[in-house]
């Protein structure tokens, strides 16, 4: 390029050049616009087939039913057993991941020496990069027997071990996003705290965490949306038998198997590979519900981060 431009004729018309520039610009714009097409087609494809499903099964039955039972050719489609299983997974994984993740973030952002941080941060990144199928395998083959060995009477497939694993999986997400929020709290605030005679503990809990609270909350929302959409861990470790929430004995729900919504989708598509039946189409209705929930949570996370952010100059 550089050698050629030496003898270039500067007087020639540049109309070809202009058109070429424009073609490149719109080509690149097409690439960027493709992402909007992806979102649009997710909504259209999910909605189209979900509508077909709702013409076979009434929405009232779907959204209020308490029994989910599918065969290749038909069944009962009440979404609540799947929703409650998803809720259990989300709540338990939040109990595991939120305190641990925030504590890890406080340590990394406030206490860790540079050397410690240079070891811990990449290690957490490695954790975040492990495929979920591996986490599912760890839950099924190692965690469940370990729980049984400790004396918790869990069945081979159970929600407890799946949701603990989901919690462990999202710890790096909570900790790295929260740490970003805490590191962006300006140092002058900390210095002011120390100047008032506060200890490091008081500065961390009294100044840094409140100042970063919007970022911390948005990290919770993102992480929980990840937990809701998590598939492989629950398919492998929670089992494929949908079970309505047992109000009489709430603890029993954790110890026995259950089928969250994502697992329900996998089960629907694998039990009828030919397509067309209500079971197969129920996957799209579940997918649409799931997509709506997670998309709304992601938007909420953006909103919380932006709306409640403290502005410092």
């Amino acid at each position: 390029m550089s050698e050629r431009s030496i003898d270039v004729d500067l007087t020639r018309t540049s109309s070809g050049q202009v058109v070429k520039e424009r073609i490149y610009k719109w080509l690149l714009f097409g690439c960027a616009a493709l992402t909007v097409f992806v979102t649009a087609s997710i909504i259209v494809t999910l909605a189209a087939d979900a509508l077909t499903f709702f013409s076979m099964v009434s929405p009232v039955e779907f959204f209020t039913g308490t029994e989910w039972f599918v065969r290749g050719d038909g069944g009962t489609y009440g979404v609540w057993p799947l929703v409650t299983a998803t809720l259990i997974i989300t709540v338990v994984s939040a109990i595991v991941s939120v305190p641990t993740g925030v504590a890890a973030a406080v340590y990394l952002s406030e206490y860790a020496s540079d050397r410690m941080r240079s070891v811990l941060k990449p290690a957490l990144e490695v954790l975040a990069g492990i495929p979920t199928v591996v986490y599912g395998y760890l839950a099924l083959v190692y965690l469940t027997p370990a729980l049984q060995w400790v004396g918790i009477p869990v069945s081979t497939f159970n929600l407890l071990s799946a949701s603990i694993m989901v919690g462990i999986m999202i710890i790096p997400m909570v900790s790295s996003l929260s740490e970003d929020a805490m590191s962006s709290v300006p140092d002058s605030l900390r210095q002011a705290g120390y100047g008032m005679g506060a200890t490091k503990y008081e500065v961390s809990t009294g100044i840094v965490i409140p100042a970063a609270v919007s970022g911390i909350f948005s990290s919770f929302i993102l992480a929980l949306s990840r937990a809701i959409g998590e598939t492989m861990i629950v398919v492998m470790a929670a089992g494929l038998r949908p079970r309505m929430f047992n109000f009489a004995n709430p603890l029993d729900n954790l110890l026995s198997s259950g089928q969250p919504m994502t697992a329900g989708m996998v089960n629907a598509v694998t039990s009828d590979a030919t397509g067309g039946s209500a079971t197969y189409l129920s996957m799209f209705a579940l997918g649409l519900t799931l997509f709506t929930i997670t998309f709304a949570m992601n938007l909420a996370s953006d909103y919380v981060a932006a709306r409640y952010q403290e502005e410092y100059q």
Partner: protein, 537 residues
């Protein structure tokens, strides 16, 4: 907010400053961090134990390897850590680079073995060569016709790729496979090496030497390889893909003269292993009987755990990655270029761009299983592609990683200093010329780092593969992109439903370790690229 709220009830008002409380809080936070890490690492140790079964070996075997490998390595690590950190960095790369290159060589081997035959590759290369010649000739003859050249650049290669390969493949006389590979693979790599060295050193002589050494090294395989017991094909792959980068690295370490003692580390490891093998053979110790061995990597899945292998899923994963590399990466990088270089800040289009940015952020949070449903609806039900094929798998997971590719490429492009763009504009370059000649070369290491990490994400995705109908077991490696395929995580999921203990604690562990090692090496490659090209200002 917090500071103006609690003026009346400040912390130390009615109690003494507590050192214990501060210490306890710090310990609690550290404990939480370590708990998260240790929980997974301990479980992974269990997996590694199941996969390699070190305890099934003789105690003498373990002791001799501890003496020849573990002790020297620990001593060396201690030395590098305390005395010579610079050499420690060299040691890490010097050990990691060959391993990463071997992984890459394995991927290329699988590509030539199952996906494009050597002759197909040769014919593609010849047609591209002819196309380049036509474009160059057009450039010379009609230097003013910019638009026409644009059409020529797009049209001629497409036309030639459509017709010429068949003509070449139907020629009555073709060179032998080794010669074809030498010409179509070793020669281009040698030329690229020469070009790279020439640019780095700004010396024609050094570039020519590097190219010549590469060619000679590869060609030596025709004579030497059978003697060592390798096929010339494997020899050439090893020389070009592993030998060349390692050679360049070693040479650069010697030239810079810093941390040269780190180069001893891989020699120490390799020598230790060799010595361990010699000693255990001489003393007759039997080694462990691991589940993860060469047979596991090269045979097909089976009902009996002892014969079960991982080869077809490995091939499937490579095919899927190839589809992703040619489909999702160009689109993602193109989108990033538009958003960083071209996108207007205000006006109607500016608002559209804002929408696109928000949308990309949210797409990154959509569950992977939903992408599976999208792929099923878009490519299989509407597009008419066969269910469970490598093409559909690659496209679907390509869509999934598209937001990640875009976001990381955007960061890399944003890091290019604006002064470089201004300098280019000042020389009279157009926007596209600036992007192509200044911004992209500068941002390339960052873009590659992000793309390799995205590939790591892609290789572990399972749920979309279940939804698009990738079969549970594939016994013969898929021969084309339109055959049914299985990928590594899909096979792991299949094995997880076996009840047999030998599957659960043996074959499955071996598969998981293979997947994790591949991932770890890819992350390692990304880190090496990032550290090497990180802006030092």
């Amino acid at each position: 907010m917090a500071t103006n709220q609690g003026t009346g009830e400040w912390y130390g008002t009615d109690e003494a400053v507590s050192r214990v409380r501060g210490q306890a809080f710090k310990t609690l936070c550290l404990g939480a961090t370590l708990l998260a890490l240790l929980a997974v690492f301990v479980l992974l140790l269990y997996v590694a134990n199941d996969a390699f079964r070190p305890l099934s070996a003789d105690i003498g075997w373990l002791l001799s390897f501890a003496a020849t490998v573990v002790l020297p390595v620990l001593a060396a690590v201690g030395y590098y850590y305390t005395r010579d950190t610079k050499a420690g960095e060299t040691a890490t790369i010097a050990l990691g680079l060959p391993v990463i290159c071997l992984l890459l060589a394995g991927g290329v081997f699988i590509t030539f073995e199952h996906i494009v035959s050597v002759y197909q590759w040769l014919s593609i290369l010849v047609s591209l060569g002819i196309a380049a010649a036509i474009v160059a000739a057009h450039n010379r003859v009609r230097a003013d016709a910019d638009l026409e050249r644009f059409a020529v650049i797009v049209g001629v290669p497409a036309l030639l790729l459509w017709y010429v390969p068949d003509v070449i493949l139907s020629l009555p006389v073709l060179p032998t496979q080794s010669l074809a590979l030498l010409g179509s693979f070793a020669v281009p790599i040698a030329l690229a090496t020469g070009w790279f060295v020439r640019r780095q050193r700004e010396s024609d002589r050094d570039g020519a030497i590097a190219a010549a050494v590469t060619i000679v090294g590869a060609a030596a395989g025709l004579g030497v390889a059978p003697v060592v017991g390798l096929s010339p094909f494997v020899w050439m792959l090893l020389v070009t893909i592993t030998g060349v980068p390692v050679g360049l690295y070693v040479e650069s370490v010697f030239r810079r003269g810093a941390g040269v003692s780190g180069l001893a580390f891989p020699v120490l490891v390799g020598g230790g292993i060799l010595m361990g093998v010699v000693i255990t053979n001489a003393l007759g110790f039997t080694g462990p009987n691991p589940w993860l061995d060469w047979g596991f990597l090269t045979s097909s899945p089976s009902r009996t755990p002892e014969d079960a292998g991982f080869y077809p899923p490995l091939v499937g994963s490579v095919m899927m990655l190839l589809v992703i590399v040619v489909s999702a990466f160009p689109v993602g990088v193109g989108a990033a270029i538009y958003l960083e270089e071209y996108a207007p800040k205000r006006g109607l289009l500016g608002r559209v761009v804002d929408l696109i940015e928000v949308n990309i952020g949210n797409l990154a949070g959509v569950p992977s299983v939903v992408y599976g449903v999208l792929g099923l609806a878009l490519f299989i039900r509407w597009g008419g592609l066969g269910s469970g094929t490598a093409l559909v798998g690659g496209f679907t997971i390509g869509l999934l990683i598209l937001p990640i590719v875009i976001i990381s490429s955007q960061e890399a492009i944003r890091a290019v200093p604006d002064s470089m763009r201004q300098a280019s504009y000042g020389m009279g370059a157009t926007k596209w010329q600036t992007t192509r000649n200044v911004v992209l070369p500068e941002a390339l290491p960052g873009i590659m780092t992000g793309n390799i990490l995205a590939m790591g994400r892609a290789i572990g995705e399972t749920a979309p593969l279940l939804i698009i109908g990738a079969p549970a077991v594939v016994r013969i490696a898929p021969a084309s992109f339109t055959n049914k395929f299985s990928a590594m995580p899909r096979q792991i999921y299949t094995w997880s439903s076996e009840i047999d203990v030998a599957f659960r604690h043996g074959v499955l562990a071996a598969g998981v370790v293979t997947l994790l090692v591949v991932l770890l090496l890819m992350n390692g490659a990304a880190i090496i690229i990032r550290n090497k090209y990180q802006r030092r200002d």
